[in-house]
Amino acid sequence: MWSFILRRILLMVPTLFVVSVISFVIIEAPPGDFMDSYVNALLQEQEAVDPAEIESLRKRYGLDAPTYVRYFRWLGNIMQGNLGRSLEWNQPVSKLVADRLPWSLAISVASFFLAYAIAIPIGLYSATRQYSLGDYFFTLIGFIGLATPNFLLALLILWYYFVATGNVAVGLFSDEYLIAPWSFAKFIDLLKHLWLPALVVGTAGTAGLIRVMRANLLDELERPYVMVARSKGLSEGKLLVKYPFRIAMNPVASTIGWTLPTLVNGELLASLVLGLPTIAPLFVGALLSQDMFLAGSVVMILSTLTLVGTLLSDIVLAWLDPRIRGAI
């Protein structure tokens, strides 16, 4: 098992390299650089533009070097934890990211656990009582959940929140805790606020998970080894959890990897609508203004997180199914 984990981590190195190249290329793809947008902005405000000054700015930020030099410079900086400076915010990128990333992660992780906590029991219930009234009920709820766009749900919740409390933005803390130092009470307050965005982000995923869980379990329940387990005198409940459930968890666990990026996606919409101080709105702003250091760092960080997500899901898979341990 440990050697599996080690091999799996080593495999991440080339992938990380590719990810960094892709992040860089994506950021470089739009024509022009930050200076061009800067010049445009100045021109729009009818200010005088001194080409020499622009050129020296270009030099100062290294925008005139060949692409590969810029790439390695960028990568080298990232390795040292120096993510560069946001030209738009005039702040170190690392500070911007550090301020917001924890909230993004908190929302993603919370919605992840919320999704699993809801989906697994319901999936189990639906599969073992196929075509029962409860099964139909959850199927219906699931389809509604799948079909409801996240932003619509966010808007509905926002509206409800407004009607109920008179506040416009949901936020992550009550006013009295906003700048208070960390305490247990503050943490509880955070949890009280967190479940809302977590729900918004997680609904579609939850509904999908329920379907996957139910379908897998139904498949597994037909397998001969289930009948064998029954023939040994195992009770239905124990049997279910020990045998088919563990196998049915496989595809569910393998979704952990791609759940993270979709969560980021969902988090983006939810945060924009609910006005949360997460990384998503920051990223959108950076893309709009071609703030390349900021945008590039965010892409890089999110991709790395996704890779870590797939790593985690592979480890869970290998734990669930010993056949996978030898496969890498």
């Binding site: 001969p224 080894y225 023939s231 040994k232 010993p322």
Partner: protein
């Protein structure tokens, strides 16, 4: 043959499957008795209901199927229970499964879960039925693996099923079924999944174990050679019905039912080393959803009596010497 006490009595059992295509009468009126220590062979073409009969006894018929008729009486300590009347999830039947009656399944490939070691899956059944610690259960499992001829049982016990060969998996399956010393072992095609040399070893093993442990045996098979080797009695099934049953030597010497006669004719020399799949008789098995009227065998029967066989279901006829047959030819008038 000295008659030991009755262990299991199946009376007029019928198990049907219900689906959109209709009702499938997988088992449709089957009766047989097994005495302690006796070996019964059940033979018949694919789909005639052999496995479903076994599943019915253990009450593990898949959920789209149902026992619609009959009794299955198990005699223990002078008392009898009708297994059909038990709750199929209840405590009582669960103690019988794996404890009193154990089963070796048709496909050893699929019968083990691939995510637990065979040791885990064998000790599980031991701990369910015997009052012992994890370590004792493990020792017993190793002992049983040694008994079925598993090479290096101390190591193999920690192997995952996918790492074992077909023959080893079959042995592990047998060890698992035998681990709680059942009074009755049902072996569903114990030899089809393994190659010929292993087949002989597995048969030898079952015979030894049956003798040593005094256990009764139901062997389900396509292969009449297996039956001639292992069994005291034979029951031949056709389309869910028990068309003939008799002591093994009688059926090979003096078969009565036209279907049995056809089956035996297709096996040129019966004896050690010769095994033959059953596929002798002209015509094919009709769709299980559309059973022929009257005698289910009449569309293929060379002795077919018009206006009788296609109209009336033949009754079960008792001949001398525990020989029973379902055929109009033997109706006394």
């Amino acid at each position: 043959m000295t008659q030991s006490p009755l262990l299991l009595s199946v009376d007029n059992l019928a198990t049907h499957f219900f689906s959109q295509e209709g009702i499938l009468e997988a088992v449709d009126g089957v009766s047989f008795d097994i005495h302690a220590g006796e070996a019964l062979g059940i033979a018949g073409e694919s789909g005639c209901g052999k496995s479903v009969t076994a599943q019915s006894i253990l009450r593990i018929v898949p959920k789209n199927g149902k026992i619609v008729m009959g009794e299955i009486s198990l005699f223990q300590n002078g008392e009898s229970v009708d297994l059909v009347q038990l709750d199929d999830r209840g405590q009582e039947i669960r103690q019988i499964r794996g404890g009193e009656i154990a089963m070796v399944f048709q496909e050893p490939m699929a019968a083990f879960s691939m995510v637990y070691t065979i040791g885990n899956q064998i000790t599980e059944v031991i701990r369910l039925h015997q009052d012992c610690s994890q370590n004792e259960a493990r020792d017993r499992a190793i002992e049983m693996l040694r008994r079925v001829g598993m090479p290096k049982p101390e190591q193999t016990i920690d192997a995952y099923p996918f790492a074992l060969s077909g023959g080893m998996r079959q042995r592990a399956m047998i060890a698992m079924a035998l681990s709680c010393h059942p009074a009755l072992l049902i072996a569903d095609e114990p030899t089809t999944a393994v190659d010929v040399t292993i087949q002989a070893q597995v048969l030898e093993l079952m015979k030894d174990l049956q003798r040593d442990m005094g256990m009764a045996l139901i062997v389900i098979t396509h292969d009449l050679a297996v039956i001639s080797e292992l069994c005291d009695r034979v029951m031949i099934m056709y389309l869910g019905k028990d068309v003939e049953s008799a002591p093994a030597d009688v059926i090979f010497r003096d078969p009565k039912h036209p279907y049995t006669i056809g089956l035996l004719r297709s096996v040129p020399e019966l004896g050690e080393g010769h095994s033959q799949e059953l596929d002798p008789i002209s015509g094919s098995v009709p769709s299980p959803y559309r059973r022929p009227s009257g005698c289910p065998f009449h569309p293929r029967c060379p002795e077919f009596i018009p206006d009788v066989c296609d109209v009336h279901l033949p009754p079960q006829i008792e001949l001398a010497g525990g020989h029973r047959v379902r055929c109009h030819l033997y109706v006394q008038d």
